[in-house]
Symmetry: C2
Subunit: 441 residues, 2 copies
């Protein structure tokens, strides 16, 4: 892929005659999505018209949401419309969902009646629910058909990807059940579908959250599941590739939030990127000022014993790391559902024990180094005590904060680490400087 | 699932008569793995003997590596042996890989000859390569067979999960090609497999890294791919569920490392957990002391102008967040392969521009607040300047550090944030206190 980037770069810089490098001839839609994301905006727009004989809506849908938004909003309307014209509604929706509703509506109007109908159905569901993105490209068999007729139909049909099951419906498109490929092979030609279809099967309710649907599909070890509406109608299917992308998006968003950044395009516009990150920086500034105020309370002792100013980052940062370790584990436990009211107290006991061991061990080392450095035994004792207290508090809050956020239906991965750092900074400075002001002056 | 935990807890606490709650009757292996991970060690061992009519090796293989290690090493050898006896080699290897080699060897000796052979083949590959975990449960067809004979064979065969393709081999088990289900349906009964099999198909080389194989499988939109050795032999298959688990492990490890913790079991033993986390705490302490030394250099000015001690955490933490934002984006770009020599300078330009905008904006605000708080214009100018410098340096190093680590073949997600924090702390304190000592005294 790297060679393609290099070849493309040379061609773009050449400027006289542009053509795509031959390596891109057998590029899939996902390959194109990957390549476009690695280019800066102007280059993306430059090569877009050269994407031919390829489902460009799938390319857009395959891009990260933010990169997709950048590209779609900078392409001429005509190009976007051309891309959307012949695509499956589920992918059209993915593309249009990044646009403002009024703009999206204009594009929808120009689509085929069938696609418009699919889109109308999809819009009954939120962008967090399976129904919105259900893939309509499904091979269904009618319950009154015979095995023989299906087998003969299959001779001329191109099965969609990930078809390991044939979905059975009635004339009103009500979902009846399924026949696995295995079962179809072992059936007799004259058998009726209605008689051999399994009716008690895993289905995905159209209003199920995407992440839950992904977990369900994974645990069933099937390649796809039928998406069924409240009234029992077959809306479409949800396949293992969809699940894989949901998981990837979920984890990438978590990682982005832990890094205090939105899940942004590598080459998002500078102004937009600066504005988005300013939110995180502003929150951080607020918490930093809170820590400053705590230090300010004890400015007399700091002025008198300047070693306190030298050492105070150690107390705060060791608490920060201890808390972050517990927080990370707790957030994962909440996300997998493995941590709940039944075992949170067991986790508390364990984490506090771990923090106590490390607190005592490291505070001893810090006390010794401090003793040699500043030749002040009282200071050694104060920093050791402050470290132990802060690390214990950190472990406790590393559990309490995410558990509380989770109960308040706030994503712990989003806000947890900022709140925790505030706690460990404030407690660290307060205990360390507070003890110093009591003992040293 | 939560109800199962509650029911189980009540039963465990009852202690008189133990039986599994009825909800677990239709538990899959993955459900059991999930449940066991959510229990503390003693409970895991308590309920293990009650797992009946279930592939317990698959349960173990489905658990997180660390939890698996804890459980396997605390179960009696007899239980482990019983679990492994009738399982597929790929899952036996997953379980034994967490044990010391000498212990693993003892278990291997007692397995069936066929499994031992499979294991011997697998051990030719490292625990990072597909060959080691190739699933041997594959339905293959011989190239000299006719379509008719396959169809009749399929009547009585249970196809493995995720079979969307029939793999074709010759008598020596050399991989020849594949027939999709679609192609099999449209073939004539008397066609020979050799004539209709596609020979130019996607395969996974057995020595391919697991993550690359997962990406390949995803991009092909197939449910599984054949795993082929250097000599062309069919070793087994790699399916989309394997890929999904590889991705999950990959992301969970990244998240754990960003939280400065190993990817540990929720209920790992306290001593082990404390030891593992001590490594991260020790590294952090080292960097915290480096920051302290920098502050120590300027202890005179800090003693004279105590406002410096009050404000210095702001400079360090705003730099830290700015750097972490750039670092997060850079690490993702490197992981997806989208960031390389061709576009790293474009990213540098963008990130520095973003940092400059936010640096100027926030330093202005901080200068104003500082001015009102300490009524010292020189101090306002110093902190504003230090903030801008530190945020620019942070953005630059947010790219340089992971790119350099990546070139040195060190995982940037593992060490990147620690090194970056060290840089932003030291630069922040040095610039802020250094400028203060030049200007204020």
């Amino acid at each position: 892929m790297n060679q393609v980037q290099t070849a493309l770069k040379a061609l773009i810089e050449d400027e006289t005659s542009f053509a795509l490098p031959p390596e891109t001839n057998d590029f899939s839609e996902d390959d194109w999505a990957w390549l476009l994301e690695s280019l800066v905006s102007e280059q993306r727009i430059l090569i877009w018209p050269f994407l031919k004989n390829i489902d460009t809506t799938a390319v857009l849908a395959g891009m990260r949401e933010d990169a997709r938004l950048q590209l779609v909003s900078s392409l001429p309307n005509k190009s976007v419309h051309k891309a959307l014209a012949n695509s499956d509604a589920s992918q059209v929706i993915e593309v249009l969902d990044v646009l403002p509703t009024s703009v999206a509506k204009k594009f929808i109007k120009k689509l085929s009646k069938e696609t418009q109908n699919h889109i109308r159905e999809s819009l009954n569901y939120t962008d967090d629910q399976v129904g919105r993105y259900a893939n309509h490209n499904v091979f269904t068999v009618n319950k009154s058909a015979s095995v023989e007729s299906i087998l003969s139909e299959l001779k001329s049909v191109d099965l969609p990807e990930y078809t390991d099951t044939f979905l059975v419906t009635d004339e009103q498109n009500i979902f009846i059940g399924e026949i696995t490929i295995n079962e179809l092979f072992s059936a007799e030609p004259q058998d009726l579908v209605a008689n051999i279809a399994k009716t008690s099967v895993h289905i995905v309710n159209a209003d199920l959250p995407l992440l839950d649907a992904s977990n369900l599909l994974k645990s069933t070890k099937k390649s796809m599941l039928p998406v069924v509406t409240e009234t029992g109608e077959l809306l479409g299917r949800f396949d293992i590739n969809d699940a894989l992308e949901i998981f990837q998006e979920h984890y990438e968003a978590q990682i982005a939030h832990l890094g205090q950044v939105s899940d942004e395009d590598l080459f998002a516009p500078v102004a937009l990127s600066a504005r988005r990150r300013a939110v995180w920086l502003g929150i951080n500034l607020l918490t930093a000022f809170m820590a400053s105020i705590v230090i300010g309370i004890f400015d007399k002792v700091v002025a008198e014993v300047v070693a306190l100013a030298v050492l105070m980052p150690i107390v705060a940062s060791m608490g920060g790391i201890t808390g972050s370790q517990t927080l990370t584990l707790t957030i994962r436990g909440l996300a997998t559902g493995q941590l709940g009211i039944n075992n949170v107290s067991s986790l508390k006991r364990k984490e506090i024990a771990v923090a106590a061991i490390n607190g005592v061990a490291w505070s001893l080392l810090v006390a010794i180094i401090t003793g040699f450095w500043f030749e002040n035994i009282a200071l050694s004792i104060i920093i050791a005590g402050a470290l132990i207290v802060n690390m214990l508090v950190a472990a406790l809050f590393g559990i309490l904060i995410p558990v509380t956020l989770d109960r308040m239906k706030i994503d712990p991965a989003l806000a947890g680490s900022v709140i925790l750092t505030t706690v460990t900074d404030i407690v660290g400075f307060f205990v360390f400087l507070g003890a110093a002001s009591l003992i040293l002056i």
